[in-house]
Symmetry: C2
Subunit: 297 residues, 2 copies
């Protein structure tokens, strides 16, 4: 990494935190403290359970409790016990609370507008485009990839999303019963593994391996990337991560099959060193079979 780039990032951080900080001071410090406003915001129009608020903002339970009492005494929220679980309490905004929250929303809009306002139309377009690029790449830098139990909720979410996408994209839909299966056992060590990619706790992609240590072959399955984070090279990162995991577990050849409608996946495999080979199984949904040799570690 070059010193110049680091200097550029530092300069950016300095300018941006100053600017946004100054604006937040000016706009958001209405009658409530920052903490109260944050809580009010996080409750949302639907209401929220106290324990959810606590974990989302990662705050102490006593602290949240006191803040809620204060909001209550100002008539901005009401808290009622949960119907199913008497320990849990649910906070809801009153009308006054909702309008207070709307005010915060408007302030945020004004804050954003004040960054655009002094600029010409073309400068605004450039700023918005550059911000989108920064945002995207910063999110990319937040991706964490970890081996995850297939029964984990995040893993379940990814697998469900994967099947849903195949259903949407395959000509004639997708029926898991027709396809070669990959059960939880096959995606758990030592038979295989599942990688889940997350951004700040939310699952955004996955990829699995079925290991066959006796033959030195491993199959790549369940490659999926959420539409929100496409174009960030996450597919490639997952694939390389799978290759590394396979390699350290005695795999010399990686195999996978794919459907003709998944063109971007095919391009990914080709540019990642896979070569198309004869069909090595009878997966009914596959049109292309790929293979890649791994360098031993």
């Amino acid at each position: 990494m070059e010193a110049e780039q680091i200097e550029a990032v530092r300069r950016f951080n300095r300018v941006i935190t100053q600017r946004i900080g100054a604006l937040e001071d000016a706009y958001l410090s209405r009658e409530h403290s920052l903490g109260l406003s944050r809580l009010l915001w996080e409750i949302g129009s639907e209401g929220a359970e106290v324990r959810v608020l606590r974990s989302r903002l990662s705050l102490d339970s006593g602290y949240v409790s006191r803040q809620l009492r204060r909001l209550e005494s100002e008539g901005l929220v009401t808290t009622d016990p949960d119907e199913n679980d008497g320990r849990v309490r649910t906070v809801r905004l009153t009308d006054a609370g909702a309008s207070e929250r709307a005010l915060l929303d408007r302030s945020s809009d004004e804050l954003a507008a004040s960054m655009l306002e002094p600029l010409t139309a073309s400068q605004r377009d450039r700023l918005v485009a550059a911000m989108a690029e920064v945002e995207k790449l910063v999110i990319a830098s937040l991706v964490r990839i970890e081996i995850t139990d297939p029964r984990d909720p995040d893993a379940r979410f990814c697998l469900r999303s994967y099947f849903a996408e195949l259903g949407r994209r395959f000509d004639g839909g997708f029926d898991p019963a027709q396809s070669i299966p990959a059960g939880d056992q096959e995606m758990s060590l030592p038979d295989g593994l599942l990688l889940v990619a997350t951004v700040q706790g939310s699952p955004v992609g996955c990829g699995a391996l079925k290991l066959h240590p006796d033959t030195g072959i491993a199959e790549v399955k369940r490659m999926w990337v959420s539409s929100g984070v496409r174009g960030l090279g996450l597919g490639r990162r997952l694939l390389e991560c799978l290759a590394k995991e396979a390699s350290t577990r005695g795999t010399s050849t990686l195999r996978l099959e794919t459907n003709q409608t998944l063109t971007e996946a095919r391009r990914l495999y080709e540019t990642a060193g896979f070569v198309e080979v004869e069909a090595f199984n009878d997966e009914p949904y596959a049109h292309h079979w790929f293979q890649r040799d791994l360098k031993p570690v």
Copy 2:
């Protein structure tokens, strides 16, 4: 301004403040509080006067004093009275303080590096480029233009910079004595005015008017934009601002002359509605004379 753009800016602000905030928590919260670290940083390797620190960080004098006592008691700084002015005290870092500051510096580097580290080389380049663009445009949105007394230090700085630049760029240099002068009086109301553009307190550009109410003509003089903020349309903003000020003061025609080496200025004048005319004065350094009619207010 479009709602979409505002939404994009808000999303950017959210993502970036979260990201930078989280990183700062992780990296910068060493043994000193944020306030002490900020002060330590601001003192710099050269040392600084207490009053300068106070105004730069816009902090209460009592507060700064107490913070300094604390840094002193930890052996990180020394404060000595100024040689010339016994009221002023100058703070300097001790060796321990300097190494503490170097540590902060390194943390900032690591923080920046951690944003780049997970990315591929091409993504890094894109991120740095987009950050530079955002930074530039955000700075552009921070520019304030105000009528300023020519004897004000900021004004003096701009005028000095203006002459220095002419000296560098004109073939054969520039000698103010040879040129048609514009004294402080001529750039002060009611005879004229000087606009100074600042970004967060630092002067970055200027432009002056010499008014001639009897003829309805005003002359534009001393147009200068700091090299650090070029390409942001600041010249145009200054020029439009001058035109507006002239217009409200009974000017119907704006005039200016310029040197052939200032090509970007000439392009600015042409695209801002000025047309080249015969020489209307005998300014020895001028090669082109321009004029523009103003719509009455």
